[in-house]
């Protein structure tokens, strides 16, 4: 045991945290080995026939020697992954108030429809004459996204939000280069998601940060002073990552356009305004949409996502391939640079985009309709503001006044308590909640960013607020041990991330027989 872990353990309520069971299991929490440690050589969870004798055509390249995979039967595999699933928190099991992540309910209808054989069991390169329904579905999705954004074109292929950002910045660079005016700087607010500066840099631009003002919005004077003939674009998130609407956005867009630059909007927070505000009306030239946020496709433990990009008319000619266009013979999929698509930046991903996510997002939008989507934005904003007023006396609200779909607190309320934002978040885990986003955005100290989404009931919010209030009271009244030891009721307690990074163990390896190891 390291000093680090001893210090934590000393605080733990040992009788609760580490009951001495013979198995190491704790009720429903079952210790589960790796599949590689459950190997029964020869077992197989799939019955496949052995092919009749045939003459191999593998040439000299036939695999020799074992692969090293374990052998397991189906019941062992099902039990293994079921047990693993039980170690996860999920939106299905409770409030998941991760700011900027929009963890909303994932309707199961969407899963069912994505699995229809006419959608799941079609190949991206089978004759286009055999997939008219797939093209119709993509076209319908495009129509909904165009209408909701007010933008005339949608680039479909990006695999997730960051990929959509890359797509957007590439189209901007292509448009500038086509105009004979390549520029080299991209302005990014300090409150931006890390993907924004990373994307601008990946696209060959120098990143120039813009500070926030005392109201948590972009400092417009600082922004305008940085605009110049070498600025290619502004990348702004709106509502921003402080959960605030950029109230000067129209003036900002005008200034950006006067400088000859493009206005990129990170659409991660579109959930706050969907159906109520069209980004095109704010002067935005380009915005990616995270279908896995606003449009409820499941996060799946980190993906897959889908990041279509809405483009203004000035950028649409540079959209990546493929394009879906209305031609003389109906819908046509343009897969190569030709005709009007000759200006396309090329291909960003294999095939035609995240079709499985398109189906889910379309089912979600159709289920809500224009009226329901507007209600989504309103309820998301209402829920966040409700939490704001329930919590503002007990946490420290970073910026006063109404917020949009998420509310930002900082760690002033923990001053001199010895409890950090991290401790506070870990204590929430023991209370049965997934923590809020911590330490982001970077513009306030010890950020706690809470996004409840519209799919939480008032009762859930009331209960959550009561728990957060109680924890805040505990921290401030000196009951701090629970924080330093937390979490103690989880399958694992705090994990040593420093050790993990210092000497990375990134895969399982068989243990060497003792004599060999000694050699």
């Amino acid at each position: 045991m390291s000093e680090w872990s001893r210090a934590l353990s000393a605080h733990a309520a040992q009788d609760i945290a580490a009951p001495k069971t013979f198995s190491g299991n704790r009720g429903l929490q079952i210790e589960e080995k790796l599949i590689f440690e459950q190997d029964s050589p020869g077992l197989c969870g799939v019955n496949l026939p052995e092919p009749a004798a045939f003459a191999s055509r593998l040439g000299e390249l036939e695999r020799v020697g074992p692969i090293g995979l374990p052998g397991l039967s189906e019941p062992q595999v099902v039990r293994h992954f079921t047990r693993l699933s039980q170690k996860n928190y999920a939106i299905d099991s409770g409030l998941y108030p991760l700011g900027s992540c929009t963890m909303k309910h994932n309707p199961r209808l969407n899963e069912k429809l994505a699995r229809l054989t006419g959608l799941a069991d079609i190949h991206p390169l089978q004759p286009l004459s055999t997939v008219p329904g797939a093209l119709e579905l993509i076209d319908t999705l495009t129509h909904w996204l165009k209408t909701l954004t007010g933008m005339p074109a949608i680039a479909l292929s990006p695999g997730a939000g960051a990929h959509g950002e890359l797509c957007g910045m590439m189209t901007i660079r292509a448009a500038l280069e086509a105009g004979g005016d390549p520029r080299r700087r991209v302005l990014v607010p300090e409150s931006a998601h890390g993907t924004n500066p990373a994307t601008a840099a990946a696209c060959g631009y120098a990143v120039d940060p813009i500070p926030a003002n005392e109201c948590g919005r972009v400092d417009r004077a600082a922004l305008e002073s940085k605009l110049g003939p070498d600025v290619a674009a502004l990348m702004l998130t709106n509502p921003n990552t402080c959960g605030l609407f950029e109230d000067e956005i129209v003036e900002i867009a005008d200034a950006v356009h006067r400088a000859g630059a493009f206005f990129y909007c990170d659409g991660a927070n579109f959930n706050a305004i969907v159906g109520r505000v069209r980004p095109a009306d704010l002067g935005i030239d380009c915005m990616h949409l995270n279908l896995h946020k606003t449009f409820s496709t499941p996060h799946g433990g980190g993906g897959p996502g889908s990041g279509p990009v809405a483009l203004a008319g000035t950028l649409a000619p540079y959209a990546p391939l493929p394009w879906l266009v209305h031609g003389e013979q109906g819908l046509e999929l343009v897969e190569y640079k030709s005709g009007p698509a000759g200006t396309a930046i090329g291909r960003l991903k294999g095939y035609h985009g995240q079709m499985g996510m398109f189906v889910r997002a379309l089912a979600y939008m159709m289920s809500h309709g224009a009226d329901g989507l507007q209600q989504v934005a309103e309820d998301a904003v209402l829920n966040a503001n409700y939490l704001r007023v329930l919590l503002e006396d007990n946490l420290s609200l970073s910026f006063p006044g109404p917020c949009m779909h998420e509310v930002l607190f900082d760690d002033r309320f923990l001053r001199d308590t010895g409890v950090t934002t991290l401790d506070f978040a870990k204590a929430l885990i023991d209370e049965g909640y997934h923590p809020m986003t911590m330490y982001f955005p970077l513009v306030v100290h010890g950020a706690l960013l809470i996004e409840p989404t519209e799919t939480e009931s008032k009762a859930t919010l009331d209960e959550f607020a009561a728990v957060v209030t109680a924890l805040s009271g505990a921290a401030r009244s000196g009951d701090t041990e629970r924080f330093h030891a937390a979490p103690i009721l989880t399958p694992r307690r705090r994990l040593d991330e420093t050790a993990a990074a210092r000497k990375p163990v990134l895969r399982w390896r068989p243990e060497l027989p003792r004599r060999e190891a000694a050699d």
């Binding site: 036939e62 329904g133 433990g301 980190g302």
Partner: protein, 448 residues
């Protein structure tokens, strides 16, 4: 609206508690000119029945692979997915969780990703693998950029046997990220002399095995040339099941493997979501893009897993990150992990043998059709044949007769008339003898 739990009474109470007269007050910061005064022009809310009907109607207009003799591959393959896979990935704890940034309540995701990384490393014969990328094509581009960082060079050589989509994605990234490509022309059935293109300015050579034409290639000699000149060998694998039967890239001197993992556990789904695999040698791990899961211990000394080496990543490093990637293909990786756990050491090679046996049988039958020429010598489950006339109309004609015959190469190389007669044909364990009969009879009739 069935997904919204607030009642009108709740909304009223909450607005009162907030102290605003209406919801509009909370949107007061939106510029007046940008406020919509009415609903957007889209249909109103629908019940499950209506949505199922609308999308079901679109689905029914497509010819599903399972409803026809099906021989389409080209980097996306139709394999049988055991029922347990789809059941398990739909458990809400997997499906509806976020990226495992809170490891104490995400050990399930973290442990399967650790198992996934191990499986990918074992299959490819490499030392380490990441927790997935978007797809094979983007993994290929990320691999090139990783090689550029590792070598400090900016020129990549691409084999003409690389999947055209992978080459095109590399070309897009090259233009904007800023590196050079020497992409070779497609030359099916011919040996490429890539070694002569490698020099002291080359960061990497990107090859594929089996290549786009289905041909199996031994890249060991090329690997040695690369290493002599300080360049890296990147091997792309678009059919991961092949590694159940074929020597892995790690045994050919590959420094980085970029692969498509769709074949295990994942549906065709018209091209996505798929599963990008990236594997390399231990010493290169700090230049790898994407998430990595590492083993550690918790405060009680128990083994557990965390996301690690995150100082490479955008949320920490911002504009100095190794890549801008954030969301990856977590659930597709889970499907892969479960399918491969079910197959195991005996099942995967058997599955691979079934594929190979089907392809051998198909190749023999195709070869027997007058005028059809098989271009491959060694192959796994896909071959290229030359027809006596352009392949696209033949494929279209067969589709009209209910046979999905393969990919006319002109679909992917539209500007190259010399490739217009080529047809790419794949056979997996899903293809029956009767299917092959229908293809070969149809083809013979179409060509007679």
């Amino acid at each position: 609206m069935r997904y919204l739990p607030l009642t009108p009474a709740d909304r009223g109470e909450m607005l009162a508690r907030i102290g605003v007269p209406s919801i509009d007050a909370l949107f007061a910061e939106v510029p007046v000119a940008a406020r919509l005064n009415s609903l957007v022009d889209l249909p109103r809310a629908m019940g499950e029945i209506e949505v199922e009907r609308a999308i079901g109607r679109m689905a029914a207009r497509n010819v599903a692979a399972g409803s026809a003799p099906f021989f389409v591959g080209g980097g996306a393959y139709r394999h049988h997915v055991p029922a347990a896979v789809d059941h398990l990935i739909q458990r809400g704890e997997f499906l509806t969780s976020y990226t495992p940034y809170q490891p104490e309540v995400s050990q399930g995701t973290l442990q399967y990703l650790f198992e996934f990384q191990t499986q990918v490393a074992l299959l490819t014969g490499m030392e380490v693998a990441n927790a997935s990328l978007y797809d094979g094509a983007t993994a290929g581009a990320e691999a090139v950029m990783m090689a550029n960082r590792l070598t400090g060079r900016k020129r990549a050589v691409l084999s003409g046997g690389l999947h055209p989509h992978y080459r095109e994605v590399c070309e897009t990234y090259a233009r904007f990220v800023g590196f050079e490509l020497a992409a070779q022309s497609p030359a099916p059935g011919e040996a490429e002399d890539l070694a002569r293109l490698v020099d002291g300015g080359t960061s990497c050579v990107v090859v594929q095995n089996p290549d786009f034409w289905g041909e199996l290639r031994d890249w060991s000699a090329l690997g040695r040339t690369c290493h002599d000149l300080g360049a890296l060998l990147i091997v792309v694998v678009t059919e991961i099941v092949s590694l159940g039967a074929v020597r892995p890239p790690g045994e050919m001197g590959a420094d980085i493997v970029a692969a498509e993992g769709q074949s295990l556990g994942n549906a065709l789904s018209f091209g996505g979501p798929y599963l990008g695999l990236l594997a390399s040698r231990d010493k290169f791990v700090r230049q790898m893009p994407g998430r990595l899961v590492g083993q550690t211990v918790d405060a009680d000394g128990k083994r557990g897993w965390v996301l690690t080496l995150s100082t490479r990543e955008q949320h920490i490093r911002r504009e100095r990150a190794t890549s801008n990637i954030c969301t990856n293909s977590g659930l597709c990786a889970l499907a892969f992990t479960i399918h491969l756990a079910l197959l195991g050491e005996s099942g995967l090679p058997r599955l691979a043998r079934l594929n190979h046996a089907a392809a051998v049988a198909l190749a023999e039958r195709l070869h027997g059709i007058p005028g059809v020429q098989l271009l491959n010598r060694a192959f796994f489950n896909e071959v290229t044949v030359r027809l006596p006339r352009p392949a696209a109309p033949v494929v279209e004609g067969l589709a009209n007769r209910g046979v999905l015959a393969g990919i006319p190469v002109s679909r992917l190389y539209p500007g190259r008339p010399e490739l217009a007669d080529l047809l790419l044909v794949a056979a997996t364990e899903m293809v029956t003898d009767a299917d092959m009969g229908r293809l070969t009879r149809g083809l013979a009739e179409a060509l007679s």
